[in-house]
Amino acid sequence: MSQLIIGHKIAQDEWTRVIPPLYGDEPIRKQAGKVVMFKLHGEDTFTQKQIDGTEIPASDKILLPLPIWLANKEALASRMAAGEIGIVLQTHEPIETLAEAFDDLNSLPVIAVYVQIFADGRNFTLGNLLRTRYGFKNELRAVGDIMCDQLFFLKRSGFNSYQIKEGRNAEEAIASLNDFTEPYQSATDDVPVWRRVSR
């Protein structure tokens, strides 16, 4: 079982993350330079077949990938209004698409950012932008290939909950949130050290 950390504590996960089915014929999507980038931006993250094949649980709180939400938003409007729906953003999806999909991002109780592999550091920028530019105030959750050694950076990039990958030690992950006492640079949590303390 993967464990959830909220703030500095292991917590019960109230949310079910909806994962579209894999059929084996999906194109591989990775962010890229110009040509592919603009092509990507015009494309859906999941194939129509995946979107159509996604089963959405009829009750409970669910985390939906952005395209799944967009394809079902009329049907799910009342659950959204009831605060039962959060959104999962994948790192290659433009943050603008997410922002445009909602009048007020703070109507979402949770935004989760999904990374497929540890080495994908786009989640740091996305977290930062969600907090600083888009003013998102609710739970910002890191999901996917998340383990102890990103947590300090994730926290500074605005995340406040972390779904630790299965088989990884959540206690160690919590301890790592305190690895450094006085970081140098500004991030979502603080100004640069030279504005923070007198040296």
């Binding site: 962010q31 330079g33 080495a119 740091f124 050694d149 160690e172 006492t181 006085e182 140098y184 040296r199």
Partner: protein
Amino acid sequence: MYKYDKIDQQLVNERVAQYRDQTRRYLAGELTEDDFRPIRLQNGLYIQRLAPMLRIAVPYGLLSSTQMHKLGDIAKKYDKDYGHFSTRQNLQLNWPKLEDVPDILEELATVEMHAIQTSGNCIRNITTDQFAGIAPDEVFDPRAMAEIMRQWSTFHPEFALLPRKFKIAVSGTKDDRAVVQMHDIGMEFFKNENDKIRIKMWVGGGLGRTPILGSVIHENLEWQHAISYAEAIIRTYNIHGRRDNSYKARIKILVKAMGIEAFKAQVEEEWSHLKDGPLTITQAEFDRVSAYFEPMAYETLPTSDASFDTNLASNPAFTSWVKRCVHAHKTDGYRAVTLSLKTHGEAPGDASSAQMHTTADLADAYSFGELRVSHQQNLILADVKLSNLFTVWEKARAAGLATANIGLLTDMICCPGGDFCNLANAKSLPIAKSIQAQFDNLDYLHDIGEIEINISGCMNGCGHHSVGHIGILGVDKDDEEWYQVSIGGKKGNDSSLGKVIGRSFAADEMPAVIQKLIDTYINERTDEEQFIDTVRRVGADPFKANVYAEKESA
């Protein structure tokens, strides 16, 4: 130089503790090989062909004698009694044990050193001109800004896992010795007509697989915005840079794909949100850091020294060393000295523990206790009195550090290559050695004059082959090691990329090939021409004709 306060020291200490724990978890089997890789890489630890390689950061190439002594001790205690100074002004240990690394880091921390971000896909060591602060042609001493940016980039949370490594260079002279156009971001600090400090900023330059000169992204940026503008650039890169193919992941590929105008537009849009915010460098912080880089306590000296003149007149070996290894200084009566790590027969950039201690002693006795590492892989005493040069020469010579070849053919840049590096197509060190053996005559070297031969063991170009006047690149042909030769590369303000002269060569052909290139130059040159000038004037054809002549008739 910069001294740690308690914040700096605490951060480095906490890093040691963190890495000690990570190593423990790895050795205990709690972290898999795959999990541990990005972690150790962030800490400068590679697993090489034969052993781990640990890269120790030497921020912008500046070292105190205490630090150098410590490096000498560490090389003796944990390695095979030597270290390798790299083209990134860092020190590499080729034989440390993985389980010793936490102890090595702990020892380094006692002298305000670390291995943070010396590898991995993050912002790497910021480099600058080895003559920063003392060069007569300098308009702005870039070291305080380099230190401010070192701190900013250290454990930057947003840029910890970029698409690829990210290198920044800064300089404060018109004559660019920091190769700023060959970096992911290059900054040249200058003074505008009102005497205000400004930055000319380049982006997307780089060596390696696709060598390319940077494009100017800002002509005239106020220095206070150095960090906010860099953040805008790197943020744009972090989101849009390619991650599907590591060979196409550097920012240069993104800049090229988008075009500099479109890229700049994105950056400017991003910057509009950051400009004048908390990232703006304050005068107070600039002054605090600059105070560490005040000029040394120089004596007031005459511009000449009688004993120096006498030695110069009577000792030809000293004279040729002065010609090659002694450099101008801002202050009357002082000179900078290069201690050559290009001894014939030794791997370029290698220094033994004993040599490290000697250089530290020399620094203490004659150069205010400071040393510098140049990106040409030599060591520098930046502030030596004219009257002490002869003594420094004698002592350096006794330690094998006075080969009078700086800027000459045997002052080659060479990556560790196939002897140490996993990525290599071919060995590079033996090629350097065989060329040194071919040209082991100082008078002849002086006659050939200034030339840069750069050698890389693979396309990654750590040996900067594409900007060598002669570039040598290891290539793999049917599992054999071959060498591709290019000529006409140059770094500096009038940078150019070398062009390949033709089919590649086997290792044992290389000394003869270089000899033929040199012979061609000697035939073709005018009195005042260096090798690169001749190549630029006559083109590659006469060189090719000579190199390939025999082959075709045979």
